[in-house]
């Protein structure tokens, strides 16, 4: 899923400092799963903002909504004209949400309440880790099912670099050296040969480097499915 972190309350308050009435919109997709922008978080953010503004003697009126998904026009359209009843709208979805909202409601201002961080999953309660960089050409099967593009600080295809120490990455001792794990897994499996030789240069055209990306499923476009 897409993982995000909520921005600081100070930053969000700064965005809407000239507003008297706003709407906070959550999303039931990824940000609900990673506990950053679902119903509960919308309620917490709204009440925190209200208390802060009240304390400043400048009360802020806030309405709350949670959409099924903010990355789908069908659900985004459910806000309707109501969206223009506010001085601004704060979206708690990933970076996709406030853009879909901005594209549909051109007269309104939308502010992002979260920083979208990575594609990953929860490794324990309250901890999420990156697993995928969305490079567009998956080759994890060549590396024992572990992705060095997303998980090596240098995206090495022939690691580990000289900074690997006790299974930790040189950049951050709390980060696993994924190449240490790849090598150990391959050694245990007796498949060290897979790591020898020089792999061809990666084609980054399918990643962000090839420009903004688009997926087209013809059968769906034509309405056959």
């Amino acid at each position: 899923m897409i993982v995000a972190d909520r921005k600081s309350i100070e930053e969000i308050l700064g965005m809407v400092k000239d507003c008297r009435k706003i709407l906070v919109v959550g999303c039931k997709g990824c940000v609900t799963v990673c506990n950053v922008g679902g119903l509960k978080e919308v309620e917490i953010l709204a009440s925190t903002m209200k208390i802060a503004r009240k304390k400043d003697g400048n009360p802020l009126e806030i309405d709350e909504r949670v959409l099924e998904r903010q990355c789908d026009r069908e659900y985004v359209s459910q806000l309707g004209d109501e969206v223009n009843n506010y001085d601004a709208v704060v979206s708690m979805a990933c970076g996709v949400g406030p853009q879909f909202l901005s594209e549909m409601y051109r007269e309104q201002r939308f502010f992002p309440a979260v920083n979208t961080t990575f594609f990953g999953g929860a490794t324990q309660h309250g901890v999420w880790e990156e697993r995928c960089a969305g490079c567009g050409t998956c080759g994890i099967h060549m590396f024992g099912g572990l992705c060095p593009i997303a998980r090596c600080a240098k995206s090495l295809l022939h690691g580990p670099c000289g900074g690997s120490s006790n299974g930790a990455c040189e950049v951050n001792k709390d980060t696993e050296c994924i190449w240490d794990s790849i090598v150990r897994k391959k050694m245990e499996a007796g498949e060290l040969e897979d790591l020898m030789g020089v792999k061809g240069l990666k084609d980054w055209q399918t990643a962000r480097d090839g420009g903004p990306r688009r997926s087209i499923r013809e059968e769906l476009v034509q309405g056959n499915i």
Binding site: K154, H158, V183, L195, V198
Partner: protein, 310 residues
Amino acid sequence: MSDFKSGSNLERVLKAGHFAFTGECGPPKGANVAHLKEKFQYLKGNVDCVNLTDNQTAVVRMSSLAASKLLVDEGLEPNFQMVCRDRNRLAMMADILGAHALGIRNMLCLSGDHQTFGNHPQAKNVHDIDSMQLIALVKKMRDEGKFMNDEEIDVPPKIFIGAAANPFADPYEFRPYRLANKIEAGADFIQTQCIFNMDKFRDFMKTVVDMGLHEKCYILAGVTPMKNAGMANFMKKFVPGMDIPDDLIKRLKGVDKRDQAEEGIKFALEQVAEFKDMEGVAGVHMMAIEWEHRVPEIAERAGVLPRPVV
């Protein structure tokens, strides 16, 4: 000449069977050519070639390519370092051609320290290709006369290809295999990470020799003389991939502060003496960090002067 891959002085010295002695020089944090040339003079005649580091420790400096050219102009031979952090494949191929055009005949192909260790940690890193692929790329350009995309090169670059090896990083048992892979990719010579843990290096070299890697490639042992115990402590704590035994720190601390530099040099000289006799070691890469002015003395006392002319 035709028997040589690049005809560089380093290649000639190694092929003639001499024990190589290479040096290093960090380009300035500025365009101070005068200071750089002053540092070159300490190395002239005392080493077979000089590594010009490429934004080492991810700190911005004068480009290693420009500094290499300045070194050529002073009558010394550069070993042009290139890291994968700052250039994509286009810039790399362009600079490899440019290096040859400027009279540069040695290159050291590196991944590069991560930018979080440097003075612009906010920077985007490139890592379009990695050091293994860079080695293979230079080899392809030189031996096949082709760019990465197989287009013909009009006058291919003649470069003696260097690579690094860190025998002390984890997982330790994989390191000889990664070295083998670099040799297979095209490395003509290896300069190792600074060696301080001699026990571990002896063990590493035994494996390397058992695998026959020393017969496929020239391995130069990396030596950095410690200036004092503080430097040893700092490197142990903050420089990734360093293995500095407590015994060495104890030894440096065991002498008066003003004698620590001499003690550091003594340890380095003992290392050079052992490397001269160590099977599989073809030379020493002396990284006297911001201590270029001590290199003439170190080379003299190490008994590696005069440098061979071949």
